[in-house]
């Protein structure tokens, strides 16, 4: 998706494609890691070779470190993350009672930083915030994605589905055109995949670092030459909600590795 030429190739492929089907049959769902070369799968599977673990290690350090006016650490309130954070990532984004709006895991962590620690918010895609999010999400590795059934989320989830199936950008393609209708295909060298959010934040070899689900979606939007949504925007969180719903029951892999 990085090279603009990809989009042109797919445009030609999709010219005669049928209208977006409604999702992928439950029996056919596959994580992005399933499409990877065996070498990349092996890199993800072994914590001593998975470079995403470097962010987990950093996050574990930050978890213990006091911050802000309160001087409190995450551990000071939450104790051992292995207990308190187990399963948390599997049910985010979740409804934030205070604002009545959905908040993703990264947003929730930043809330604890600002409101409870009295520290400044961390910037999205900063190493520190990625490290904390990766560390927290890692505590749910292997657990099934279990989106909350909160009716307050329904409208946002529906908005996410709408965004996923709406054509956008100069190439006039929807997410679904690629990820529902053509996930078996390849876009130049890359497997298109089903766009499941199971591994995030994850280490992408191309990025030479860990990045968020929103960064991945931003890449896809740039690929179809659409104006990407802003980091942390309602639109991205709605898409995250829909993707988590679409992947309900699939196992969290954080930190994933992707080509």
């Amino acid at each position: 998706m990085r090279r603009p030429a990809h989009g042109l190739i797919v445009l030609a492929l999709l010219a005669g494609a049928p209208a977006a089907a409604d999702g992928i049959a439950a029996g056919e769902r596959r994580s992005g890691s399933d499409f990877m070369a065996p070498e990349t799968q092996a890199m993800q599977a072994d914590d001593t070779s998975n470079p995403g673990m470097l962010w987990v290690v950093q996050g574990a350090g930050l978890w213990e470190q006091g911050a802000g006016a309160s001087g409190l650490s995450c551990a000071g309130c939450h104790g051992a993350a292995a207990d308190s954070m187990r399963g948390v990532a599997a049910r985010y984004p979740a409804l934030d009672a205070a604002s009545g709006k959905p908040v993703d895991l990264t947003g929730r962590i930043n809330q604890c930083r600002t409101v409870r620690q009295g520290a400044s918010a961390l910037v999205r895609e900063s190493n520190e915030l990625l490290a904390l999010t990766t560390f927290v999400a890692h505590q749910s590795r292997g657990m099934p994605i279990s989106p909350p059934s909160d009716p307050g989320l329904d409208a946002y989830r529906a908005a996410g589905r709408e965004l996923f199936t709406t054509r956008m950008g100069q190439l006039d393609l929807s997410c679904a055109n690629c990820h529902d209708d053509n996930w078996r295909g390849r876009l130049a060298g890359s497997a298109v995949t089903q766009a499941h959010p199971t591994g995030y934040p994850l280490y992408r070899l191309e990025w030479q670092g860990v990045g968020s689900l929103q960064r991945r979606m931003r890449n896809c939007m740039i690929g179809v030459r659409a104006e990407p949504f802003a980091a942390g925007s309602d639109a991205f969180i709605a898409l995250e909600l829909y993707l988590m719903q679409r992947a309900a029951g699939m196992a969290i892999e954080t930190p994933g590795v992707r080509p």
Binding site: T48, S49, V57
Partner: protein, 106 residues
């Protein structure tokens, strides 16, 4: 804050060939890239990696700009005695990051 991950088996039998792995978070900035407005991003890479076993150097490698960010090294050692396996990465500013692991040989 250093971010490194090293892997050495905790125990081994004398004479065993053991697998050692070491990984460190580092940008390995080549010095060949341009940042915003065409300003060159200065080179910053790890140039030397050393592994010691019982205080003695047993493995070393020179790194160059073609090595990826967050470099990963894997090699083997012959387990001879219980002791500390030490790791040191030195970058071109002369800064060294270290890590270590213990091995018990019986």
């Amino acid at each position: 804050m250093t971010r490194s991950l090293v892997s050495v088996p905790g125990t081994a039998r004398r004479g065993d060939i053991v697998d050692v792995r070491a990984m460190i978070a580092h940008p390995m900035e080549t010095g060949y890239r341009m940042g915003p407005n065409g300003v060159a991003i200065p080179r910053r890479i790890i140039t030397r990696f050393v592994c010691t076993y019982g205080g003695e150097e047993v493995f070393a490698a020179a790194f160059f700009p073609a090595v990826s960010a967050n470099p990963f090294v894997s090699f083997s050692l012959v387990a001879t005695e219980s002791g500390t396996v030490g790791f040191a990465w030195t970058d071109d500013e002369g800064q060294t990051e270290t890590a270590s692991a213990e091995i018990v040989v019986s």
